[in-house]
Amino acid sequence: MNPRPWNLWRAQVEAILRLEIRKTLLARRGLWIYLLAFAPAVLLWIHAGLNLRHGRVCDLGKDSLIFAAMFQFFYLRLAIFFGCVGVFMNLFRGEMLEKSLHYYLLAPVRREVLLVGKYLSGVIATSAIFCSGTALALAALFVHVPRAAAEHYLFAGGGLGHVLGYLGTAALACVGYGGVFLVMSFLFRNPIIPAALVLVWESMNPFLPSLLKKISVIFYLQSLCPVPAPIHGDWSFLAVVTEPAPAYLAVPGLLLVTFAGLLLAARKVRRLEINYGTE
């Protein structure tokens, strides 16, 4: 056994990242993920452009509430959710279908190190995509309000904290959903089934008992959202977080759920066989 395995593992994870990040970011089959990530930003920029063109002055407070709703209902629950399905379900399963996974399995890499490398590559790629999408969408909010109002909101009204909160929540969503869908890729061949199961579970979260609530990703993400979504009426249950976790518990809670998923995935990857014929 290597007396300093951490150095070796770090080098191997770096080698995996070099191969995987490029592959994930440049994959043609992943174009729809970019569409999901940047569609809100495109819409908001069109909206901002039209306002600027017609000289309309916008209410930043109102717009920030609209953004909060969009972030929670579209970005977290759909865009990042399905983006992570597309990326993390394919980290191992996709290579199994392309019959190229043996390339990694023929190298002297602990299977767990391979898992960590691939998972990190997915987190980095999805975080880069969805944090960029979030940042661009937020930028569109500020571009069509007077500069003084934007500066006041950012530096005196807690806006900068909101921006960092949204970016952090988007990144943590990739961490959490990434872990969940990575383990699902070892349990299911068809990505539709786990996606549907997790979507139902996450939607049921408001109705679950207190303990079960915590075995989900959306519970922690909603607790971390800086601005509550202004939803009323029949769908308000999706926006209301009963017993929200404070940030100092929500972040470790989410990481714990993710870690549990990765532990299960590590057990599966250790027993993984190359049998392309059955895929």
């Binding site: 023929l106 190298a107 002297p108």
Partner: protein, 313 residues
């Protein structure tokens, strides 16, 4: 478990209810070992089990003392050229080998040097920066070989490594295998081209329908095939005269003059005894040029054990 040998202990592999290999007991010493058998006989399954790409349903495997389910240790000294003809997307030949070495944890410069060395060994330096997707079948075979050779492994497992290679590269590759075996390395080759296996293998493993039907040095395997008496070709003058004398021996099953009329083909169940008696039979007037087994090769053994005749040892 031996640290010099590859050992299979009662290994079975089932794909659901389909048999891959069954009750395999093998000890593979250093040198070139040929895996021979028809399609579906279990050659690739055996190689995948040896390299941990598959896990045995039953039994134990040890490769120089290391279990194949420890890839972090196994692939420090083992290179596997698989039969899978698919590659990570968008890679050039150089990137394919270089990245593989980086996965070993080797630094950039060392990986680059070792990658170029491996590419030189398989004569692929000119095409190193071309995408693998644009390679011919033979080039893809060579790049896989370069990958397996690149970390200078002690054990090379090669699944049909000569497929698609042109005659010149084929001869050079065989010479490379020989050189590696002479250095004391294990080279395990599966091939369906029997004369090649015969020419390069120190020992053979014959597989049929998931079972090992014979293993060992080809001469040893042949002498154990008792259903088929050993065929010996005696090159001599006056073969008909010698035949008349040989018929008297009780060890001889058949003797006939060779088609070219310059020798005698003898079939015997006791070759060692026959050789002793032959010395006494050769009388004045018969010039003996050579005496050699005529069916002491992989092709004959394959035909006797796996061919239409079947048979067992």
């Amino acid at each position: 478990m031996s640290e010099r040998e590859i050992v299979f202990e009662n290994v079975s592999k089932f794909y659901g209810e389909v048999l891959g290999v069954n009750r395999v007991n093998l000890t593979i010493p250093p040198g070139i070992t040929g895996l021979v058998g028809p399609n579906g006989s279990g050659k690739t399954t055996l190689m995948n089990l040896m390299t941990g790409l598959l896990r045995p349903s039953r039994g134990r495997i040890s490769v120089l003392g290391v279990a194949p389910d420890q890839p972090e240790l196994l692939f420090r000294f083992l290179g596997y050229c698989t039969q899978f003809d698919s590659f990570p997307r968008g890679m050039t030949g150089y990137q394919f080998v270089y990245s593989y070495l980086r996965l070993h944890g080797k630094p950039d410069k060392e990986s680059a040097e070792m990658a170029w060395h491996a590419l030189e060994r398989v004569k692929l330096t000119d095409a190193a920066h071309r995408k693998i997707a644009a390679y011919s079948k033979g080039m893809r075979q060579r790049i896989k070989l370069a990958q397996a050779l690149s970390p200078c492994p002690l054990v090379l497992v090669l699944d049909e490594p000569l497929n698609g290679l042109d005659p010149l590269v084929r001869a050079e590759t065989i010479a490379l295998f020989r050189a590696l075996a002479e250095e004391g390395q294990h080279v395990i080759i599966s091939s369906h081209i029997l004369h090649e296996v015969d020419a390069i293998s120190d020992q053979v493993i014959l597989l049929s329908s998931g079972y090992v039907v014979a293993e060992g040095q080809i001469h040893g395997v042949r002498t154990e095939v008792e259903d088929h008496p050993m065929q010996i070709l005696i090159r001599c003058s006056k073969p008909a005269h010698l035949a008349s004398r040989i018929f008297d021996l009780d060890t001889v099953v058949e003797a006939r003059v060779h088609n070219d009329g310059k020798g005698l083909l003898v079939r015997t169940r006791e070759p060692e005894r026959f050789y002793l008696m032959l010395n006494r039979l050769v009388v004045d007037g018969i010039d003996l040029e050579s005496v050699a087994p005529a069916d002491d090769d992989v092709h004959s053994v394959y035909e006797y054990l796996i061919g239409t005749d079947g048979g067992s040892i």
